[in-house]
Symmetry: C2
Subunit: 436 residues, 2 copies
Amino acid sequence: MTQALKVGIAGLGTVGAALFRAIVSRHKLLADTCGREITVSAVCARDKTRDRGIDLSGVEWFDDPAELARKGDIDVFVELIGGEGDPAHSCVAAALARGIHVVTANKALLARHGVELAEVAEEAGVLLNFEAAVAGGIPVIKALRESLTGNSISRVYGILNGTCNYILTRMQKENMGFDECLAEAQRLGYAEADPTFDIGGFDTAHKLSILTSLAFGTRIASDEVYVEGITNISIEDIHAAEELGYRIKLLGVAQRTSTGIEQRVHPTMVPLGSMIAEVDSVTNAVTIEADILGELMLSGPGAGGDATASAVLGDIADIAKSRPGHQHGPALGRPAKYLEPYTQAQMRSHEGGYFISLKVEDRVGVFAAIAAQMSKNGISLESIVQRPANGSDLKTVILVTHATTEASVREAVEGVRGEGYVNGEPQVIRIERTKQ
Amino acid sequence: MTQALKVGIAGLGTVGAALFRAIVSRHKLLADTCGREITVSAVCARDKTRDRGIDLSGVEWFDDPAELARKGDIDVFVELIGGEGDPAHSCVAAALARGIHVVTANKALLARHGVELAEVAEEAGVLLNFEAAVAGGIPVIKALRESLTGNSISRVYGILNGTCNYILTRMQKENMGFDECLAEAQRLGYAEADPTFDIGGFDTAHKLSILTSLAFGTRIASDEVYVEGITNISIEDIHAAEELGYRIKLLGVAQRTSTGIEQRVHPTMVPLGSMIAEVDSVTNAVTIEADILGELMLSGPGAGGDATASAVLGDIADIAKSRPGHQHGPALGRPAKYLEPYTQAQMRSHEGGYFISLKVEDRVGVFAAIAAQMSKNGISLESIVQRPANGSDLKTVILVTHATTEASVREAVEGVRGEGYVNGEPQVIRIERTKQ
């Protein structure tokens, strides 16, 4: 049997501790499967005295992750520190440059420095694996990087943030308001004390930018993602959506268009009865539309210590099964030098259906004026619903459009507002067509 | 750049021709991604003169697949001949023994000879890849073999046959009878002229036996699968299921129990609102329950020339990315010598809920007698529905049980029949709990 694979874990939080436990408790299974043993030879964390329920005797301890990366007696550096900057960035770069494989769960790091790190890994002839960085335990990186090789991808979209999906599911199923559901998510540990990064859509954007690169063979462009979060979504929107045959999900969507690639994160109407509409709570799901394969959907736990540890362990096992000096597959699916520049499609050119909800004064001619603005902008309507607005003498008018452009919708909505009878902010939610 | 990978394709039917076209038309993309070119250097089919819309000039032609396997100037032998016996079996064995990698889409071959062929591949130090053999283009083999390494699997289940799912979906959505839907499936090319292999559940059983081995690390036991097909399912069953909150799908289920492993294929009630209930038409789906990861579901096209070719191409690309003499991963997830014997759980010990539909004479005491039989066998009921049977003076009594055993249900149903007022065959359909 080949020599044991020595793993160094930087970061012993929930994921790091779960990974440590799994490697110890599955020792024989892993050795049988991989054809060699996997051992944790070194770890690094902030506080050596903290009780993590794991036995660190015989494992070299480092206080500084940079020391572990540069000097640890390891074959694989597992980065579970988090954050796009240092120490995570410099540690990963140092380990790769030294010829040590890296496994990371750090989406922020990859969104910012992924291409640069892939180049370092390729030059050093080592692997940079990051299955856990997107959609937790779901093997979407492997699907894009390996299974779909040779396919041309037209669209990849998914539910990539468990916090948002938990809140939207709870609102819909239990008729609760946004604030109440957020508080509940925080109580259960599904949302941070400061939830902005999740509910603002930024976490989804990071993950999406990594998927975009893998799907389209372009350089990662995490700054060029159109982002809307879910803080605007009301229980009334959710009810109206259901009545019209839709469910609201926060999707990340990357799509090839004639003018470039769209990367967008926003609340989205998906058809009731589609599989993605049934993805509940903290579960994540990703759909890939590929020209040879067709449509592939993967769903599973998108976060949590164990699910993330499982993905990290799969990445480590791939390294254990490969042989030194003969590594398998570039980090971003193709060698970094072949990645194409990212060409952003303008959001105004986005084509699709729209749900538009307007609170309007209840007077003669309002409806006709709305219809005229839609018509003027070339928008044809799939359905129109009018009903009394909650607790006021206003009316809510809901329009569902056939496919049109973002520019037309923005213009039409501005036109309607310009006529002076719209109260408050109009709600505009994009509709995404799905196949399954 | 490393030398081109030379592929030999045995069988130029729909899949073979689609694969050939993909390798030619994606030449640059494949070379960029894999770090080396992929070329088709030899092919074999029955009729050289047939127009397949592909240009075979410069490609060596073999009339006999055994010649291609034994003498072709190839690095990879792609077996698309089909069938568990020869020539597929001897060709694959010969190619592996000669040190040539093999990619196959042949589930029957693997169900019968998979362990033996895995041993030959391991001895020769070459890869035996078969992503396309189960669930077409869905990367479930890779998920089990690589992504979930280190996880202990408790259950794997799925919709593995597009023909059956097409028929059941059509019956449910369009209120059509079984025979009519089968005829429609045959007209559209989704079912064979002799559909027994699909609708009898045998195709699902082959695929399931391969998943079982990968999930549980056991030797393939395709003869030890409990199989019921869908020919018995009536439109009345489908309606009754929907009313009670279920949809009927033909599932293959492999599950670890205290007495062994259950492998079963049968029509199954899955809850409405679960993701698997929304898997429609020829789409396939597989759910894996893993102890570290949690529940993972994959769905996509389960058949068709292109989807199958995509999976075959992914397998070829994995070989192209690896380096000769340093191969990656045993065929069945762990080296064949470590595979455990398969221990079959008895079907009578199966535990779960049951849907039981009985046509009974409409007389006093019938209902009480049924209830007494259930009670006598320790079966508690979740719901009971009674209604007039179609076009007769009989009544239909439908029972949905809480979790019980197969043995209890069989005994209870025999007990009820023994009392003499049941008309025709009782319908018994197992209920499968799902998480997502």
